[in-house]
């Protein structure tokens, strides 16, 4: 059972005790200093969430249905606040594989999460495409020495974290000129990267320097914007407008199939732990629904 502490914007403090399995809520208790009239309705609110997927729309819909049925009103919290609090839990720092942590930011506009990764080694930790996170949450990891960026648009919270952690920012040569602040190390496909990652250049993509990182020992491929983890267990491309020639983009992505990878970590959307190469193959074979349109429908 995890406890989520969430300050509702302009509202009260929620303390949610949540147990979930495979992103399905198994049990939940909603505590806090909010108001709900009638008060007893809280049990129904908690009950209605059991079995719900941890998806913003679904959580909100279930709570709103109970509030309407019971003619109940909530003050200082709302269905939206509870959904956001529960999603925070999904997006906070968590160990996704031994020694590999992830944290995310749910982008309401786009409708999916922006993910960041921390690969921990005994003497150092390497971050990839980090989104904002309280530095205190990273304290339990070994010293953070390097921040790898997959492309020019994934600067995210890299500069703030660099200032705070004194870590080096790495970017591919073609993208270096586009960064808001200079990188510390500009690499190309031959540069040895910290953590033993291999830089995999992705041609014909949204950014000229789009790069995937490959952990050959663990057979993990980490992509930035090259492919998006959406819908669940599938991958897609960003909207067509982001690319010069989609056919060339697709053709270039097929080079990824030369790599042996069992796990795909995505910068945007949902990671794939089962047969990610198959998902990529399906994308390359698809004639329709290749692209996302924002906001993606959950």
């Amino acid at each position: 059972m995890k406890q989520i502490i969430y300050k509702v914007p302009e509202g009260k403090l929620l303390r949610i005790h949540l147990e979930s399995k495979d992103d399905i809520i198994v049990s939940v208790k909603i505590h806090g200093d909010f108001f709900l009239h009638p008060e007893e309705c809280i049990s129904q609110l908690e009950q209605c969430l059991i079995g719900s997927q941890i998806l913003r729309q679904e959580i909100m819909q279930k709570i709103d249905t109970v509030l309407i049925q019971q003619s109940a009103s909530m003050v200082g919290a709302s269905s939206e606040a509870i959904a956001d609090a529960i999603l925070t839990e999904k997006t906070g720092l968590r160990e996704i594989l031994p020694g590999i942590y992830s944290w995310s930011y749910f982008n309401k506009e786009k409708g999916y999460t922006f993910n960041s990764y921390a690969f921990c080694f005994p003497e150092k930790t390497i971050l990839i495409d980090p989104v904002e996170i309280p530095a205190s949450q990273l304290e339990k990891l070994s010293t953070i020495t390097d921040i790898l960026l997959t492309n020019k648009d994934h600067e995210r919270a890299a500069y703030e974290l660099r200032r705070h952690l004194n870590a080096k920012i790495w970017i591919r040569d073609f993208d270096a000129q586009f960064l808001r602040e200079p990188a510390d190390v500009i690499f190309d496909e031959k540069t040895p990267l910290p953590g033993g990652f291999q830089a995999i250049p992705i041609a014909e993509n949204k950014s000229p320097g789009e790069t995937a990182f490959y952990d050959s020992a663990r057979k993990i491929l980490i992509v930035g914007d090259a492919i998006i983890g959406w819908p669940k267990k599938e991958v897609s491309l960003l909207p067509a407008i982001k690319y010069q020639d989609v056919q060339k983009t697709i053709a270039a992505l097929s080079s990824l199939l030369h790599l042996e990878f069992d796990i795909l970590f995505v910068g945007d959307g949902e990671c794939i732990y089962d047969y990610p190469r198959k998902a990529l193959e399906r994308l390359l074979e698809r004639k329709e629904n290749i692209h996302l349109s924002f906001p993606v429908k959950l």
Binding site: D33, F35, L36, V75
Partner: protein, 247 residues
């Protein structure tokens, strides 16, 4: 119509909360508004209906210091009731706006009027606070059931934030020091504002509520039936472990 004005003195936490609920029942039966003033002996911590006991309260420290613990029937946050004036106003729901925030504004308006008459720069800050010169002096909480509304609230006469946080927990224990110093900056009391005349303050509060709900309040006593009901609720509900650790 005249409302009833009750002074029930200093009582233990469970009894205070039981009287509030018993008065709601009376009001439901008789539709007569009630304004009650009271205090707490021994000092007590009350927690909001939805709060987790162990999350909010250092129960061990409370026991050691002889501080009562009670769960309220209203939502809101944990409060240390020590040196304060506490009121409850109980009235048929249809006498205030149906909208919850608006009804807080009306009833808290009584407190704001009272402070203004004392020459203080007071203001209602939604959802349920009153601030004087930018600092919180009063917290309030409402519940509604069976067509009756109860709002109870506190006015701090004096405040000892350090003592308060020996009894209350904070969400991030590591940050406790910082949180305490921030709260010291954000909370004030009648003593800090140089207001010592409790009788005058209560008279002004009564006037404020009379103006807010447009009813005169006349001194009354708890009826035998109310006393009996309160006793029953105190034993069966408010002092029971089941209720206190409900969440």
């Amino acid at each position: 119509m005249k409302g009833r004005l009750l002074f029930t003195g200093a009582r233990c936490a469970a009894e205070n909360m039981a009287i509030d609920e018993a008065l709601m029942e009376s009001c439901r039966a008789e539709s007569i508004p009630i304004l009650r003033f009271y205090s707490w002996r021994p000092a007590a911590v009350s927690i909001g209906y939805f709060q987790g006991l162990e999350e909010e309260v250092d129960t061990h420290a409370c026991r050691k210091k002889g501080v009562d613990i009670v769960r309220r029937i209203t939502g809101g946050g944990a409060v240390f009731h020590h040196k304060e004036i506490t009121y409850s106003i109980i009235l048929p729901e249809n006498r205030v706006p149906q909208n919850i925030l608006e009804s807080y504004a009306v009833l808290c308006g009584a407190l704001v009027d009272c402070f203004k008459k004392l020459g203080l720069d007071a203001r209602f800050v939604p959802i349920n606070d009153i601030i004087v010169a930018g600092k919180k002096i009063s917290g309030n909480a409402q519940t509604r059931r069976g067509g009756v509304l109860l709002q109870h609230g506190t006015i701090l006469q004096d405040v000892d934030v350090d003592q308060m946080f020996e009894l209350l927990k904070v969400p991030q224990e590591k940050m406790k020091g910082k949180i305490i110093s921030e709260i010291k900056q954000r909370v004030t009391s009648l003593r800090h504002l140089g207001i010592y005349d409790e009788g005058k303050l209560i008279d002004l509060l009564k006037e404020g509520f009379e103006h807010a709900v447009q009813i005169p309040f006349e001194k009354s006593e708890l009826s035998a039936q109310e006393t009996e009901k309160a006793k029953e609720l105190m034993i069966s509900k408010f002092s029971s472990d089941h209720w206190i650790s409900l969440r």
